[in-house]
């Protein structure tokens, strides 16, 4: 059965009619399937939430223990059944390689297989399992960085840039804007991997999720809260991780001689870095770049591609040129400037 007859775009998000559930809804609903815990995909207040255990744990850390009426944790690759037992929708979560707990959701109804990939990337990331290509009829993808200008370098290369800068400007505190969930922990691990063993300092907003990652068995090395440092001058020549919004606020003025950096896929574009007054742009993204998007679609090789949000014009154009069937859903609300 044609997927568009049972899976539709609605103001709240994608709705699967025979299972009566929404995927990543932006408003509270009765039953939600959540791909991952980023705030533009996972909100609090649903009656029931089905997600991976890590995603549920992050949501509880962010929104409180009672973030949903009930929760159902699923393992990757475990098959669950939704909707009427006589006419069921089967559902399987597969790793998406985006952040801890992130998943693609495979929905299968009357023989038609749809993969909702959520956000995903193909670069290696020690904080989560790698993206798994899942054969399907319809592949639903984001297009955040879907322009051929976007080429994400390796995170090691970008972190080496940060360490070089520390060596050149030992008198300056290196304040790095990183989204608190996923980007922060990935940046820390990459710094450790290239041999940076000094303590890394955290803005208050980064602490809870770092602790959670550690409880999930991901070791981040020595982390110190900036609030706990009595002599702020001692932060010169050190790395402080803060939410992007804190880069130029009052709080950052307590730090000595700040050199502003930011880790985001957008940092590749000069004007975007300039707008945020970033002196050291670090191109680190938890999404696919252009080539990775095209390669993934090639690998998954679906009959149809649906594009949720982002630079859909360009992806649609390229896929059409390849002779693929593709359409843009133009969903709003799924892109935030800072976490990409």
């Amino acid at each position: 059965m044609d997927a568009s007859q049972w899976l539709h775009k609605q103001p709240q998000g994608l709705y699967c009619e025979p299972a009566d559930c929404y995927i990543d809804p932006l408003h509270p609903v009765e039953h939600a399937l959540i791909t991952h815990a980023h705030a533009d995909h996972a909100i609090g207040g649903h009656q029931s939430v089905t997600a991976t255990a890590s995603t549920l744990a992050i949501m509880q850390t962010r929104y409180g223990e009672d973030m949903a009426g009930s929760t159902q944790a699923v393992n990757y690759r475990e098959q669950i059944t939704l909707g009427s037992p006589n006419d069921p929708v089967t559902c399987v979560f597969y790793p998406a390689g985006h952040i801890l707990g992130s998943a693609q959701i495979l929905l299968c109804y009357r023989g038609t297989r749809v993969v909702i990939s959520g956000d995903y990337k193909r670069q290696s990331d020690p904080t989560c399992l790698p993206f798994k290509p899942v054969p399907c009829d319809v592949f639903i993808t984001e297009a955040t960085f879907a322009l051929p200008v976007f080429k994400h370098p390796s995170i090691e290369q970008e972190m080496a840039k940060l360490l070089d800068s520390l060596a050149v400007f030992p008198e300056r505190c290196h304040l790095v804007g990183v989204y608190a969930l996923g980007k922060c922990q990935r940046v820390i691990l990459a710094l450790r991997a290239i041999g940076y063993t000094s303590p890394i300092y955290l803005h208050g907003a980064q602490r809870k999720l770092c602790d959670l990652y550690e409880r999930q068995g991901i070791e981040l090395g020595e982390l110190i809260d900036v609030a706990e440092v009595s002599d702020k001058q001692s932060l010169a020549g050190n790395i402080v991780l803060a939410p992007p919004s804190a880069l130029s606020d009052r709080w950052s003025r307590t730090l000595p001689n700040v050199r502003r950096a930011m880790a985001s896929g957008w940092m590749q574009i000069r004007a975007r870095a300039k707008q945020r007054q970033v002196e050291l742009p670090l191109v680190v993204s938890d999404h696919c770049d252009w080539q990775a998007l095209l390669d993934t679609i090639e690998e998954v090789n679906p009959n149809e591609v649906w594009i949720t949000h982002g630079r859909e014009d360009a992806l649609l154009h390229a896929l059409t040129q390849q002779g693929r069937t593709a359409q843009a859903l133009s969903m709003v609300g799924y892109e935030s400037d800072t976490q990409d």
């Binding site: 080429k151 000069r270 004007a271 870095a273 742009p281 630079r311 360009a314 390229a318």
Partner: protein
Amino acid sequence: MQAFSELLENLYYTTASNEKQRLLLAYLKNTPDPDRGWAIAALAGTLRFEFFKRHTVKQLMLSRVDPDLFAMSYDYVGEVSETVAHLWPDATEQPATLPTLNELVTAFQQVSKQKVSALLADYLSIMTPPQRWALLKLGTRGLRVGMSARSVKKVLATYGQVPVEEIEQLWHALAPPYAELFAWLDGKQPKPDISNAVTFHPVMLSHPVQDDDLEAIKAQPDEWQIEHKYDGIRVQLVCNANGKAIYSRTGDDISHAFPDVLEQLHFHGVVDGELLIMKDGNIDSFNALQQRLNRKKPTKALLASHPAGVMLYDILKYQQSDVTRHSLDVRREYLEKWVANNQQPAFQLSPMLAIHDAEQLEAAYRQAADDPSVEGLMLKRLASPYTAGRPVGQWFKWKREALLADAVIMYAQRGHGKRSSFYSDYTFGVWEGDKLLPIGKAYSGFTDDELKKLDNWIRRHATGRFGPVREVEKALVLEVAFDAVHPSTRHKSGVALRFPRVHRIRWDKPASEADTLDAVKRLIR
């Protein structure tokens, strides 16, 4: 090339100007000649030639990427060089060693026209995106890293521990890659001798007059020299034993475009004035001058129909002697003497208006407003020495009021650099019957806040797209200001505006009430 690219990256992202100067200073200390001299030329904007045309860059890219994807990428990035720097295919194998900056400059200087494109492609293919960006910016002379020529000179002064004024004086007589300059700054050679070089001297500029300045001038008009402000282009004439030249106010040598003026110049000195079209002593409009400005080499017929001349108003050198330290009234005597020695139809002395009280000043301003060859008054302190730059309180311009029209915004395009994520360039039009005809483009005159609002409006009212250009609903009125309207055969509307800018955004005004083309044409003088 590697070091140059790193310097540009650092300068580009660093905001504090003292940090930028520190970065450049470190580069000068660590980089050999002639590379550092070329870098200085690139930053100060004194490179004399383009390596390649923007068009060549675009064509090269389009032969390697789908044109629609290129257009979408360009629309997003907002700038060709950066778009190409990212889009260009990366080298698959270990890239060859990079050329030095000097090798690069020399290669493009020597390459034949037909091979420019291939040479550029070869270089782009061995470079990283930041290096490509540096090459493209350098090669099209479009480098902007937030460093003024003035601060480049300051760094040179710091580097050589000499006063910046000495660098300024030498500047226009020296050429990239500045070997003599660095030899002097390094203490290896004496200061370059430029006393007889045919070269541009930095000019003195005026400020727009404010109400309190006017009050002060009206109180003591006898301390001021008051002249018409001519609507031409500012030029400097240089003549000495080594030759002669005509320079624009930015120091470009425009002698070739005005052979009629040049051939009448023979007395030694450096004089300052306004280039105009002058027929039998009568001054023609700016539009007439435009005919000459459009031509790099004028035809005989054009020279005969549009003879150029210079209204002289100041002097920097009389024969060999520098007179810039004298006050304006003393310089005026030198200037009169110079003109007496160089009597030719092309040279006129800018008349001093006889003004002794506030009423006469007001009357002169009103009279200037009615004269199409004049755009207001110049008010110069008699005691002012000739100081390069824009010294405070010495010279003022009192321009006649701008003309205004209500026009409808029709198309919008993204700006460049910091503005590349905003739609900040607007094409606007006025009514002819029930059709809008574009009459001009504006990209200034609004605040950052207004820009955000305009940008937002455009995104919500876009109806079509032609490459980077967005067509919008014909619904928003801009009150545009401009200095003059001229008839034009190049525009469909038949008019061209001089210095159009956004005066006010008329969120309140319905598009149907915008001005008609006839109303705009009535403003032609």
